[in-house]
């Protein structure tokens, strides 16, 4: 009997009456979307229940996938690590090949623009001591190389061949203390001799005190030394000082980055000065 006694269960009765009122009100009112409030409230409440259920299911699935079902992940991770390492190695190889191809392309471009006969060679070694700035090329006399041939790169003059064996050659870099090249200021045509300063700089000697030379002037080969073709870039004037004598003291920043050389061009065509010297010596011998 107590189950039917409302006075003993007034709370449930109150709740039932309130729900009845809410349903009664909802059935008469439309929401802003034109849907009856009863339907909107029912859908809204059920959608929240669905959202909660979905969240719980999703959380359980995440826990399973991320923490429990990891038996194959270790192997997969190892495989991926190996593949990544291999890919990195290949990437470095490709980058190296790309750099080399670009360098060769620049050489070929230079080769196409000059009338000189040249041959490309790769640097396979550098000097044994820092006192002598030399490099070794992978081509020698069998490839047509001989002593005093000019070595250039697209950015400028590198040096000259000082020793040519059958399959390799030694090149004296222009920055070597014993290296020298006939040079002139491109703007003012003031002439002099570029010599190596031992470090990564050059010195332009025998430029008259009255010559027009300023910092930033382009220095190019003059061609009078019989080795280097005329007009190739040597560098730019970085410092001009009066020495008190007949000549100025001029520093030149090389156009070539000697520390990053990989491929060079060797000029096979003798210069006009070399040819003249050859003809002169031949005539004198006669």
């Amino acid at each position: 009997m107590s189950l039917l006694d409302f006075r003993q269960r007034s709370g449930y009765l109150f709740l039932a009456v309130i729900v009845g009122h809410v349903i009664l009100i909802s059935a008469q009112v439309n929401s802003r979307g034109g849907v009856p409030v009863l339907e909107a409230v029912t859908f809204g409440a059920f959608s929240e229940a669905q959202r909660g259920t979905s969240s719980v299911v999703g959380a359980i699935r995440d826990v399973w996938n991320r923490y429990l079902a990891l038996r194959a992940v270790r192997d997969e991770n190892d495989t991926l690590q190996r593949e990544l390492a291999s890919a990195r190695v290949k990437l470095q190889e490709q980058a190296a090949l790309l750099g080399r191809a670009e360098g060769l392309a620049r050489l070929l471009d230079l080769k196409g623009h000059t009338s000189l006969s040249t041959t490309a060679a790769a640097i396979i070694a550098s000097g044994a001591t820092s006192d002598f700035r030399t490099v070794t090329l992978d081509k020698g006399s069998v490839h047509g190389l001989s002593k005093d041939m000019a070595v250039i790169v697209p950015s400028g003059v590198v040096g000259r061949v000082v020793l040519a064996s059958a399959r390799a050659s030694k090149v004296q870099l222009l920055i070597d203390r014993n290296a020298a090249a006939g040079a002139l200021i491109e703007r003012s045509r003031a002439q002099g001799v570029v010599v190596g300063a031992g470090e990564d700089t050059l010195r332009l000697d025998f430029v008259s005190e009255v010559s027009d030379v300023v910092v930033g002037d382009q220095v190019v080969t003059s061609g009078i030394d019989g080795i280097f073709p005329k007009g190739f870039a040597i560098g730019r004037v970085s410092d001009v000082q009066k020495s008190g004598g007949a000549y100025r003291r001029i520093s030149v920043q090389p156009a070539v980055g000697f520390g990053s050389l990989e491929d060079v061009l060797v000029v096979l065509t003798p210069t006009q000065a070399a040819l003249a010297a050859t003809v002169g010596s031949t005539g004198a011998a006669k």
Binding site: R7, S10, L13, V17, I18, H21, L24, I25, Q28, V29
Partner: protein, 172 residues
Amino acid sequence: MKVLWVVAGTALALALQTTAARFLAGGAIIVDFVLVVVIYAALASGPVTGLFAGTFAGFVQDTLSAGSGVIGIGGLAKTIVGFLTGLVGTQFIVAQGPSRFVTFFIGTLLHAAMFIGVSVLLGLRDLGRPYTAVLEQAVGNALVGVIAFQLAEFAPGAVERRRLNSRRPRRP
């Protein structure tokens, strides 16, 4: 018997509400006789009676004013007020004038809050901020409720005393 009293009280309250209430304060309805009956029934008979009284009275009141509102809002508000007032009446001693006054006062405020709140939530109409009117009605309901209790408690004794006085032999 209790149901009959509730129904009769509600009918009387509705009759007063629709005829006399608007003349009490120059047109402003400062007493809700139906709500007074609900609170009275709840205090006198408990939460279940208050619940049914609120539901019945509110439903009838809503039905009579169906053209201007939604049936159920007044019933919902009065149901809640009736039930909670009944609970208060069973949990606390509400037998003195001041405590009854406070109970009627708070019950009226709760009723207004429920009615206005639900209306605003449903976007039915903008009722503004009728703080003054609600306070006036709360005071009016409280006064009427306290008076009603006083009358109900003292009226039977007065009749009995009058009857006893009429039967007492007169001295020559």
